[in-house]
Amino acid sequence: MSEVPMPLWEVFIRARNGLAHKHVGSVHAADAAMALQAARDVYTRRGEGLSIWVVPSGAITASDPAEKDMMFEPTASKIYRHPTFYRVPEDVGNM
């Protein structure tokens, strides 16, 4: 028996209409159709989803953890980018 490992697929599930697909994990499968079935069987056993995406893991380009200072640190000091930084005038009411 040949023991070539099956390709890895990343699984994304949308829990409800109006929400975005969210990464939930991965499965091994020979091709896209089988990956979709495996994702259904492994990740939607408790009513978790209405829609599934599977993506070949190799198709994902990821940021390098070693570069996290360069990538993400500079935003830490820019608190004015958060809406809560600004005081909303009383007259505006709920936004």
């Binding site: 028996m1 159709a33 079935q37 259904r40 069987d41 492994v42």
Partner: protein, 259 residues
């Protein structure tokens, strides 16, 4: 007993009919559960376990109804765990051992290709309880069919070894497909009353489904083979007794045990 069902005369055949469906679902569900801890990959362990749970769920609903039709106070546990092999009415196909993965997939495919159209028809039964169970089961069977069909295509049209194993499983299990379409004195009055499905009306769809998948899988259905028979009237292969010995052990050793 359902109000649409037509009185005491139909109760005995309705009980037998419901038990045939329940036993077939339970035995196949139990067979699939034997893969737990042994499946080739985690994904398939989950898939086979899911299908097993679908089938055992169907069996529970059917046993509860059978107990109500019978009216002697037997519940689903009494029917599942305290009858011997001769009392079981399941199809011979579903009691066949798991064999290798190909055999399990072929068995599931041949059965599900029948079960899906069967449940779809039964959902229009004049028996409201059977119709409700059928409506739920049809959706489950549709996925079982897709799962097994996709696997069979890849096994048949895969490597030399997977093709050989899939064809061997098909040759081995084909003689048990004749029983899917049998009809006897249990069904006759129920079909006439619009309660049961005439299995002959499912044959063309089953053949279309099977032929299409086998063609894609580059597998060949055996021709002119002797068809096995007997499960539906309690004459079983040697395998059922061993299965029941395992499945019923707890309730036999500790009657009424709960957890």
């Amino acid at each position: 007993m359902s109000e649409t069902c037509d009185g005491a005369a139909l109760a005995p055949p309705l009980l037998d009919y419901t038990l045939r469906l329940a036993d077939t679902a339970l035995i196949l569900g139990h067979r699939l559960s034997e893969w737990i801890g042994h499946a080739p990959v985690l994904e398939e362990e989950m898939a086979l376990g899911n299908i097993a749970l679908d089938l055992i769920g169907e069996a529970r609903a059917l046993y509860s109804y059978a107990g109500a039709v019978e009216g002697k106070g037997r519940d689903e546990d009494a029917l599942a765990y305290r009858r011997d092999a001769g009392g079981f009415r399941n199809l011979l196909l579903v009691e066949q051992p798991n064999g290798d993965f190909a055999a399990t997939i072929v068995r599931q495919f041949l059965f599900s290709a029948f079960a899906q159209p069967f449940w779809r028809r039964l959902a229009a039964s004049r028996d409201a309880t059977l119709a409700a169970i059928a409506a739920k089961s049809e959706k489950e069977a549709a996925y079982h069919l897709r799962h097994a069909g996709e696997w069979l295509i890849r096994l048949g049209d895969g490597t030399e070894e997977s093709h050989r194993r899939a064809q061997a499983a098909l040759d081995e299990l084909w003689p048990y497909t004749g029983e899917l379409f049998e009809r006897d004195a249990v069904e006759d009055p129920l079909i006439a009353a619009g309660i049961a499905v005439d299995p002959e009306t499912l044959r063309a769809e089953w053949q279309r489904t099977v032929s299409a998948v086998l063609a894609e899988a580059t597998l060949e259905a055996p021709e002119r083979v002797w068809m096995q028979s007997g499960g539906r009237s309690g004459r079983h292969s040697e395998h059922l007794g061993h299965l029941l010995a395992t499945m019923q052990f707890l309730q036999r050793a500790y009657p009424g045990a709960t957890w």
